[in-house]
Symmetry: D2
Subunit: 158 residues, 4 copies
Amino acid sequence: MYIAVVGAGDCDGKTGEIAYRVGLEIARRGHVLVCGGLGGVMDAAAKGAHEAGGVTVGILPGGREGASQWLTVALPTGMGEARNALVARAGDVLIAVGGGYGTLSEIALGIKMGKPVVGLDSWNLEKRGRGRMEAAPGPVEAVALAERLASPGTDGPP
Amino acid sequence: MYIAVVGAGDCDGKTGEIAYRVGLEIARRGHVLVCGGLGGVMDAAAKGAHEAGGVTVGILPGGREGASQWLTVALPTGMGEARNALVARAGDVLIAVGGGYGTLSEIALGIKMGKPVVGLDSWNLEKRGRGRMEAAPGPVEAVALAERLASPGTDGPP
Amino acid sequence: MYIAVVGAGDCDGKTGEIAYRVGLEIARRGHVLVCGGLGGVMDAAAKGAHEAGGVTVGILPGGREGASQWLTVALPTGMGEARNALVARAGDVLIAVGGGYGTLSEIALGIKMGKPVVGLDSWNLEKRGRGRMEAAPGPVEAVALAERLASPGTDGPP
Amino acid sequence: MYIAVVGAGDCDGKTGEIAYRVGLEIARRGHVLVCGGLGGVMDAAAKGAHEAGGVTVGILPGGREGASQWLTVALPTGMGEARNALVARAGDVLIAVGGGYGTLSEIALGIKMGKPVVGLDSWNLEKRGRGRMEAAPGPVEAVALAERLASPGTDGPP
């Protein structure tokens, strides 16, 4: 499964720790981690997944400069913020960790594309329409919830 | 000035009426209207601008089929939801009318790109960071507010 | 009809004159001119179409800085060279005037998308597969040929 | 190093064999193979690299359906032919194997982006401007040539 971790390029230590643990858990469970490839949440999650031996993919807004060093594959797009749609599309499910407006755009694009989104201390959206974003209490729970929501034939957690 | 009107492809009559009036006012004031080129809010706004003699641009997710008939220029992108970033980038300022998750993504992308966003019965976002989305009470006020927020050298409304 | 004029951002006077006349003819015949929005061939063609009262659209690789002054609609994409695919997609038919590698990419993308391409002193491609690029002897003939090739139900020139 | 292998989605057995050997050699030398992720040349090259234990990335025009089974990372873009620019951008150097118009667009985009391109029984372009596409006699030579052309501080083969 491909899990996209979305979050800000700058983050405080606590948020970075959460992102790191999300990445670790994603790789432990054998999933590919996709992110925006830069610093902050993206870098921390990639580091976690890398340390657990996982495959990490960064979809970058510009070139490879400034990319996280923990990426198995660093993809420069030269598309600026339009690359956020590629990050959202690449995940079978998204996990949002904290986040600013770029993160919000990825959450919204993911829901618009019909993908489940799990939030960890992230945006608290009003309910509108059929999309779903669900909050998780911690990194391990977030990955487990992402797996359940993304599995075909299930309806998410009971 | 280029004003992007963002909103859902399906909308009720009241929301459509608001979008129509926004489009009318944009064209009356001599601005170019940019939108996603499809139905609902996009079509209604384009109709309003067209009837006031304005230039209307639709940036479409697929081909020209399904495009609003009120577009001066219909641009097929074949890029799916990634075209939302092009809509946001094309506006010097955005006006969001109602809206679902696609609209939310355009609001978030616009703020991320540093553009002011005016909301009409739209998403009510928590304050996070420096971006600004401001609510307007009606179509005419929304366009006037958009002009003020987008004008260089001013700091928006007092 | 939408006609995309593709060509280099720098060009000599003679090529610019040809591009100008292509733009003039496109507008005289009531078509919308689409181009990459920058200098050289793009600027000259837009100027011609503008002077004949036509609608001109520039799909820019970055922001609006550096855009031709003859555009009715200037669309910044922030996508770099990936915007070449948008230029190709926006035309019902393409006219290539001279051109370097960017132009070649637009010709190839246009043919790949199934669109006819007319060349004026442009790349002379080997025949491969079913795509067609046809040379025209001058600007007026190029626009007439473009019209014929793009018209549904005809098979191009006899 | 990232090496993009570009070629048609359908190819004959001989071309497929060449692509397979190119992929094999890319992985043996420790490079990441990037391609368009579909059949034909893309699938054959990915298979070769996979069998040699390499990392393979497919940048897909639509979703993951129809993707080569030999990809370490399959990235759906939903951008259609505009994804060709992403394939070209992802490679430090491109190797074109045979090819139709999609391939030609990737060659042209690569040269436009300043990247060296190596051809194996591919398009034979007229010289225009400063870009360079050089032919190689076989798969092993193509990868060696790609390495030399892409290495900073060298000027390519003597």
